[in-house]
């Protein structure tokens, strides 16, 4: 469940983000300080859920609801208890959390969300959650989420606490590990061929001895990973 948190108070955003960490299926892709930022963000990044504060300067939560096209599910968050009845006027509003949100109440909200998404899946099996597993990956660079298409990634190299992701056009340095990124990559396209390298094996130009060539990069193949690589290739 990919979500964003929209609230003008950093403290409120921090609490919701921390509560989301308890739920393994919940992924906070952005924390945004106002509804205008949220509208901009949603233009290029689909999400399943928005935690939306009502009382915000510039554009209120209600203004946002009235403005946004094809809204995902929304959980309203506010310190105003009296807004609850009005909130359910909109079918995409799943829940209404009064701040400060308790962990127990948050769990109930998550259960309600799970039921809602299950129902959607049953009624519309063609609906897919915005995981983008087969298409793209978002990386966090200087608080900016950058979308990388899987097909554009050539290889990923480990450098201590960092990994370097090389695409057709750029090289990105991200604070993460090969193990973590491996979990996010589709096996149909990516393979670890060395303890320091994962490659997009659809981009291989040739294989010679114990190395592969991807664009101009010569990548070593470890002895233990070689059999799996050979198995994946469509050999004549």
């Amino acid at each position: 469940m990919r979500c964003i948190i929209v609230d003008d108070e950093s403290s409120a955003r921090a609490i919701i983000a921390e509560l989301c960490k308890i739920i393994p299926e919940m992924e906070v892709v952005a924390e945004l300080p106002d509804a205008l930022e949220a509208l901009k963000f949603l233009k290029h990044t689909p999400v399943d859920l928005i935690f939306l504060d009502i009382h915000m300067p510039k554009l209120t939560g209600v203004d946002f609801i009235e403005t946004v096209n094809n809204p995902p599910k929304i959980v309203l968050t506010t310190s105003d208890k009296d807004f609850a009845i009005e909130a359910y006027k909109y079918e995409f509003i799943v829940d209404y959390l009064v701040k400060p949100i308790t962990p127990e109440r948050f769990q109930k909200c998550v259960q309600r969300l799970e039921k809602t998404f299950e129902k959607i899946q049953q009624e519309h099996p063609e609906t897919v959650m915005s995981q983008n597993e087969d298409e793209d990956l978002y990386i966090n660079i200087d608080r900016r989420l950058i979308k990388l298409k899987f097909m554009d990634i050539l290889l990923i190299e480990a450098h201590g606490d960092y990994i370097e992701i090389q695409t057709q056009k750029n090289r990105y340095r991200v604070h993460s590990t090969l193990k973590k990124i491996k979990e996010k990559l589709p096996e149909s396209r990516f393979l670890q061929i060395h303890r320091s390298f994962i490659i997009n094996f659809t981009q291989i130009i040739d294989i010679q001895d114990n190395s592969v060539l991807i664009e101009r990069n010569v990548i070593p193949i470890s002895r233990s990973n070689r059999p799996e690589l050979m198995q994946r290739l469509n050999l004549l």
Binding site: S11, A14, I15, I22, H55, S79, P100, T102, P103
Partner: protein, 107 residues
């Protein structure tokens, strides 16, 4: 005796995550003094609708810091301000001062 702020809620949310607690307290220490200042300025300028908006934000922090009675008072005060009534300003200021003192103590 006036109730005292505490970190019970923060600790419940953090589940022992010291990094979160530290990060969160830094946020409160940054946000609260500014909100208090803005509140005082709008009140002095008789911009009571603006004051009500700031009280709305502050009341969330009162809840976070375990000030149950303070939170209730802020709810009432926010509504009063919308109607131009500032009768609770003295009590509200006392609460703000106790939060300020607490923030300085944990800094």
């Amino acid at each position: 005796m006036i109730e005292q702020p505490n970190l019970d809620y923060i600790k419940e949310i953090s589940g022992g995550n010291a990094d979160f607690e530290k990060k969160f307290l830094t946020i409160i220490q940054t946000e609260f003094p500014k909100e208090k200042q803005d509140y005082i300025e709008t009140l002095e300028g008789n911009e009571l609708e603006e004051s009500a908006k700031i009280v709305h934000k502050i009341k969330h922090k009162l809840g976070i810091l375990g000030l149950t009675e303070g939170y209730k008072l802020a709810v009432k005060y926010e509504e009063d301000l919308k109607y131009g009534n500032t009768n609770l300003k003295g009590e509200f200021l006392e609460i703000l001062q106790s939060v300020e003192k607490f923030i300085l103590k944990i800094a």
